[in-house]
Amino acid sequence: MDIKEYIQSGVIESYVLGLADPAEVAELQKLRLQHPEIQQAITDFELSLENSAAANAVPVPPDVKAKIFSELLLNSPKEQQAAVAPVVEMKDAVVNRYSFLRKVAAAAIVLLLGSAALNVYYISKYRSVAKENADLIAERSSMYVQKDVYDTRMREMENDFRMLADTSMIKVDLSGTGIPGKGGNSAIVFWKQDTKDVYIAGNKLPPPPSGKQYQLWALLDGKPIDAGMIGDCATICKLKNIPAAQQFAITLENTGGSPTPDLSQLMVIGKVGG
């Protein structure tokens, strides 16, 4: 190959100007390594082109460099400080915005965690308060019931008191004194003279065995009259109406009572007006 002819063919200039086709480029790349004069010719033309471009340089508008640095987000070169000031501001703004967003995100996370913790606290608090409230409602209901009981009992006692305070009421003390083994027993019979109703109160009798019940008797001229069975009265029990009697007595009888008293089971006895 005639190297000189190759160099003068224009292929080198085509290559440097970017007009050579791929085959020409490949050939030249190979030849430049083998022939220093081809390498030299290439470099020479490159330098000529570079010099020519420099000779035909056109002043660039002053703001272009700042725009490039801005687009690439590079720090401004010192000599361009004033021109690229906006670049610095932009970077700062971006940094500030990120740091601000990070702060906001951090604050949001803290708030979220705080809120979650408060939720847990309030749920447990709510549960304990709800339970307390339910307990209080139950307690109040039981107190209402208890109050009703007391009210009832108080009304009964008022009635009893009014009854006992009645001037027509006479009191008959029944006692176990004189009856063997019954010395500690006692009971009080109230007998309303206008209505002839009989009441019993203040029993000091042992609890009756199962299947047994105390029975009150009125004695008129030595004859026993059934005055009624003594049940579980809270205060005073109203028994039967007895028109006339000289004595009252209580015996232990089978549940439901007997037509005649079992005198072996006499618990207490007392005389009217005695």
């Binding site: 292929v11 290439i42 272009v64």
Partner: protein, 180 residues
């Protein structure tokens, strides 16, 4: 030519490949006007030239790792980027104009070439304008408008072989003129 005063080309390339901003600033200060001249020579309107230069330097910064100094000098590489970017811009504008005016691409190309040499052409293009007409048209179409030899052959109705040899001679002559 502004000689490299502070860095050798080797040093500059190493620094640029490391994305050294000082080196990039230095590169801009030393070569932007040369490249701007080449861009202005290609573009039909000067208004878009600053944007093209900006694009060129952004590409240089981003593509510096692709630069291979065994294929040519740094300036040659940058000049190729400038030329391609300018032609791309011109073409996208021609395409838009073409669409708007409903004109044929052929008319546009032929019009650009056959128009009488612009009196205010500069730089390399000015040198090209001093070539004889049959060479000038080929260099215009290939170098300044970026057409392939195949395209030129079709547009001008000249056999591809003729285009190839004639363009080679034209460029050889252009090279001689540039070296002077």
């Amino acid at each position: 030519m502004k000689a490299i005063e502070r860095y050798s080309e080797e040093q500059l390339i190493i620094m640029l490949k490391q994305h050294d901003q000082t080196a990039f600033s230095y590169l801009y200060d030393n070569y932007s006007a040369s490249l701007y001249g080449a861009i202005v020579a290609i573009l039909p309107d000067v208004e878009s030239a600053p944007d093209v230069l900006q694009e060129v330097f952004v590409k240089i910064w981003k593509q510096i790792s692709a630069y291979d100094d065994s294929k040519g000098r740094l300036f040659t590489w940058m000049l190729t980027i400038a030329r391609n970017t300018a032609i791309d811009t011109m073409r996208s504008k021609s395409w838009k104009n073409n669409k708007r005016n409903n004109e044929l691409t052929e008319d546009l190309i032929t019009g650009g070439v056959t128009a009488s040499p612009n009196t205010d052409t500069i730089g390399l293009r000015k040198i090209v304008h001093s070539l004889r007409e049959e060479y000038r048209v080929l260099v215009e179409l290939s170098y300044f408008e970026g057409h392939t030899q195949d395209e030129i052959s079709r547009k001008l109705g000249i056999p591809i072989g003729t285009v190839k040899t004639r363009l080679r001679k034209a460029i050889a002559e252009l090279g001689t003129m540039i070296k002077m």
